[in-house]
């Protein structure tokens, strides 16, 4: 049983991070949780003896996906902001 404790902790972290990523509704905040999910998955993969997959997940999950999400939010917000100003005038 003791052998399984690290994997168990990894699973719990992944499940919690995944749940958090769904329940956090604001995309900027969600991007933080998504990057955490990426990190948790990488840790779990290493514990499951898959360093190749962990590397991929790190590369994609910790930098690429959050960056794309943040850039999209920025574009969308910029749009929304100018819309609102327009209505204001």
């Amino acid at each position: 049983m003791a052998e399984n404790v690290p994997v168990l902790i990894g699973l719990v972290l992944v499940a919690v991070a995944g749940t958090g990523a769904v329940l956090v509704r604001d995309p900027v905040r969600q991007s933080f949780v998504l990057s955490l999910l990426g990190l948790a998955l990488a840790a779990l993969f290493l514990l499951l003896q898959a360093p190749d997959v962990a590397l991929s997940q790190l590369a994609v999950g910790s930098a690429l996906t959050p960056l794309m999400v943040l850039l999209s939010v920025r574009k969308v917000r910029r749009k929304a902001r100018s819309e609102r100003r327009e209505e204001h005038e």
Binding site: A2, E3, V5, P6, I9, G10, L13, A17, G20, V24, V28, R29, F32, V33, S35, L36, L39, A40, A42, A43, L46, L47, Q49, P51, A54, L55, L58, A59, S62, A63, P66, L67, L70, L71, V73, R74, R77, R78, A80, R81, R84
Partner: protein, 163 residues
């Protein structure tokens, strides 16, 4: 399960998990430093696990994370500059986070160095340690700079918040 694995697991549970909690909650000004702390600690976990599993090949994951982690943090700082400026973090908590980084890195890397012995693996370890320290130092500086220079920096072209 040997001591290294146990130490790695313990750090995962008692170090990474709380840092992750801090990243997932609260204002952006707390999330960004906490995110950096999370990646630093996770790199250390990877190092400990690599030693525990007896696989030097696994060290590459820590190496990659030690450069991608700070890069991610700096991107957050860059893209969320105005939010950081709007609610700056307390200097004391920022200091504490950085200090935690500074303490944790040598606390893990030094024993690992002794366990590894001289060789290529040692150089790799030291590089990772150096990158982690440098990365966390820069991250905290970047947050401070974004806060102080904040309002000027967060012009309309760079802004993120809805104003």
């Amino acid at each position: 399960m040997n001591g290294w694995t146990a130490a790695g697991t313990a750090l995962l549970l008692c170090g990474v998990a709380p840092a992750a909690c801090a990243t997932a909650t609260g204002p952006v000004s707390r999330r960004v430093p906490a995110q950096n702390l999370t990646t630093t600690l996770l790199s250390l976990v990877f190092l400990l696990l690599a030693q525990g599993f007896g696989r030097t090949a696994y060290v590459d994951t820590a190496l990659v994370l030690s450069v991608l982690g700070p890069a991610g943090t700096l991107l957050y700082v860059r893209l969320l500059a105005d939010r950081l400026a709007a609610r700056p973090p307390r200097p004391r908590s920022l200091l504490a986070t950085t200090a935690l980084n500074y303490v944790a890195v040598p606390a893990v890397v030094v024993p690992l160095c002794f366990a590894t012995g001289p060789g290529r693996a040692l150089v790799k370890l030291l590089v990772i340690g150096g990158l982690l320290v440098l990365g966390s130092r820069t991250a905290s500086r970047a947050v401070t700079a974004a806060v102080t220079a904040g309002h000027g920096l967060a012009g309309s072209a760079e802004g993120m918040s809805d104003g």
